[in-house]
């Protein structure tokens, strides 16, 4: 793998990692989720547990992506696997929503937005884009 290609893969993997490790903190630690008055205390507890874990996984992934040393390619694949698990699980939760009465947003959360003539869910749009970037990063690695 040439230097530029390695740098590109590292940048893609970092972006994908920041997507689940940092964007979720910004998006969910507020009244739409962690302090949502409609959420029970234990539902909030699970959310904070989930998002702080993702932040931790992301920090570990960034270390794997950027730390000097052996196994560069293997470490990139590991960081990609973390992201694959987080995004894969998101789509599992999305596709199984009818089984547990789930929804991609609450009425006092993030409503869908209109773009290119479509009504798009914010979570689904962002995580779909990041999944495509993840697949591109793995293909280039």
């Amino acid at each position: 793998m040439g230097f530029d290609r390695l740098l590109l893969v590292r940048l893609l993997m970092s972006l994908v990692t920041l997507g689940y490790g940092v964007v979720t903190v910004k998006a969910d630690f507020n009244k739409t989720h962690a302090t949502n008055p409609l959420w029970t205390g234990h539902a909030r507890f699970h959310l904070v547990w989930q998002i702080t874990s993702y932040l931790g996984f992301a920090l570990l992934a960034l270390a794997l992506i950027w730390a000097p040393g052996p196994y560069v390619l293997e470490r990139l694949y590991l960081a990609g696997a973390f992201a694959g698990i987080v995004y894969g699980a998101f789509f599992i939760a999305l596709l199984t929503m009818p089984l547990y009465d789930g929804r991609a947003f609450d009425d006092n959360g993030y409503p869908p937005f209109r773009a290119i003539g479509l009504r798009l869910d914010a979570n689904v749009t962002v995580f779909s884009a990041l999944t495509v970037l993840l697949l591109a990063g793995i293909a280039l690695a």
């Binding site: 630690f29 989720h33 962690a34 302090t35 949502n36 409609l38 959420w39 029970t40 205390g41 234990h42 539902a43 909030r44 507890f45 699970h46 959310l47 904070v48 547990w49 989930q50 702080t52 874990s53 993702y54 931790g56 996984f57 570990l60 794997l64 052996p70 196994y71 293997e74 590991l78 696997a81 973390f82 698990i85 987080v86 894969g88 699980a89 998101f90 599992i92 939760a93 999305l94 199984t96 929503m97 547990y100 009465d101 789930g102 929804r103 991609a104 947003f105 609450d106 959360g109």
Partner: protein, 144 residues
């Protein structure tokens, strides 16, 4: 695998089984994911979280036991992964007064022997996890 590494691998496997298998068994029920008091998006987040932890637990076991030259590094990563999955629980527990969190809901999992069931499970599990981490991070002693 050397003795210390083998013990760590066994401990990591035990802990991974706990955080990969127990939460789906407990949480896919009317106490959590099917709880009528939870909003639909709160349920969504818990399905997402449980799925991640189950997959990471399985992934951690693969990291630990898959043969190859990079296994010592992978065991360390598996040890840190488990600490993060369980550490998030304690972060949520210690900061719960900041966001109105609770160990359980009124219609959730009742305490066991007067103690919160989550704490009862995850405290010893986390001790084992930290022991495994210390084992894999401590330098190997070489005989003279």
């Amino acid at each position: 695998m050397a003795g210390k590494e083998k013990i760590a691998a066994a401990l990591l496997t035990l802990v991974a089984i706990v955080y990969a298998i127990v939460p789906p068994l407990v949480d896919i029920s009317p106490t959590h994911i099917l709880n009528p008091l939870w909003t639909s998006h709160a349920k969504f987040h818990t399905v997402w979280q449980v799925s991640v932890n189950s997959m990471l637990g399985l992934f951690s076991v693969l990291l630990v036991w898959w043969p190859g030259a990079s296994r010592p590094l992978r065991i360390k990563i598996g040890a840190v992964l488990g600490c993060i999955a369980l550490g998030g629980f304690f972060v949520a527990a210690l900061t719960r007064h900041l966001y109105g969190g609770a160990f359980s809901d009124p219609n959730g999992v009742p305490p066991v022997a007067g103690m919160d069931a989550n704490l009862l499970l995850f405290t010893p599990t986390s001790v084992i996890q930290v022991v495994a981490l210390l084992l894999v991070l401590s330098p190997e002693r070489t005989s003279k």
